[in-house]
Amino acid sequence: MLSCRDVTRIVSSDELENAGALLKFRVKLHFLLCVRCKRYADQIRMIGIAARERAVMLLPEEEHLLRLEKSILDDAFGAQGKQT
């Protein structure tokens, strides 16, 4: 029988990714019986989603990215770098 500590560790270290069917089943079963571990797994998932949304929201607009790109290339190749 998996303990809550086992299940949370499996969830937080992405161990299910390469796990066999039996372990996956045991974790699923544990979630059915244990609302706390289910909530833990939900929280971990939501933290990931929120972090991604936040990073996407903070990303500057395209125009700004193109300016940054130009400045990187100008630094690397100098003014004559635009020889296309």
């Binding site: 706390r36 933290i47 929120a50 972090a51 296309t84």
Partner: protein, 208 residues
């Protein structure tokens, strides 16, 4: 000539890695330009995702590509160009944090985690139910404060997994760790973030 700035982003190197690697090694300006264009948003997003302020994130992005261009002749093409770039970014972020003296010497998250369970491994105080909408909104406001406390390697593991959604093998290559180490890094950073958010009163429901 393929130095086409109209090319869709993230389109570089998916088809012909070997040819692209050779062109990068020769510092072919068109290939370099394609790579910068394709991966700039990803690198910038990852830098922001690591909790850097926008000006710092821009500096780190710029210096990541500068290092990439300087060391292009050493690119062997054994790993994907994206892996190479994220590897440089990781080192830049760690450097920046050391300079700003933000990396903590010790990490007590393992202890904190253990305290959550009794001797039979059962929750002593369980997580609260998740109200997805509230949780999501509140985390977005607090997550950078919480990320601040996280050591660079853990943070980068989290960013590459959750924000860039890379697979384990790629992340292990970038951070130069084993799959088991990666599991430990993810375990620590996620629990660190969860504990930090909980301390801020974000436990899933609107009322504390």
């Amino acid at each position: 000539m393929s130095g086409n700035t109209e090319a869709p982003r993230e389109d570089v190197g998916s088809a012909n890695q070997a040819e692209l690697a050779a062109r990068i090694r020769e510092s072919d300006p068109d290939a370099i330009r394609d790579v910068v264009h394709a991966y700039l948003p990803q690198i910038m997003r990852a830098a922001l995702g690591a909790g850097l302020d926008r000006p710092v994130a821009e500096d780190v992005t710029q210096s990541t590509f500068a290092t990439f261009i300087e060391s292009a002749h050493r690119f062997e093409g054994r790993s994907h160009v994206r892996t190479w770039l994220f590897g440089i970014l990781y080192k830049k972020i760690a450097e920046t944090r050391r300079r700003l003296k933000r990396d903590r010497e010790t990490d007590d998250i393992d202890e904190v985690f253990e305290q959550r369970f009794d001797k039979n491994g059962i929750w002593t105080k369980g997580p609260r139910p998740v109200d997805a909408v509230v949780f999501d909104k509140e985390i977005r406001q607090s997550i950078d404060d919480c990320l601040e406390e996280v050591p660079s390697k853990q943070k980068m593991a989290f960013v590459l997994r959750e924000i860039e959604q890379l697979d384990s093998e790629q992340i292990c290559n970038i951070l130069e760790v084993t799959r088991t180490n990666l599991g430990v890094l993810l375990h620590r950073v996620r629990n660190r973030l969860r504990e930090c958010l909980e301390q801020k009163g974000i436990e899933g429901t609107a009322s504390a």
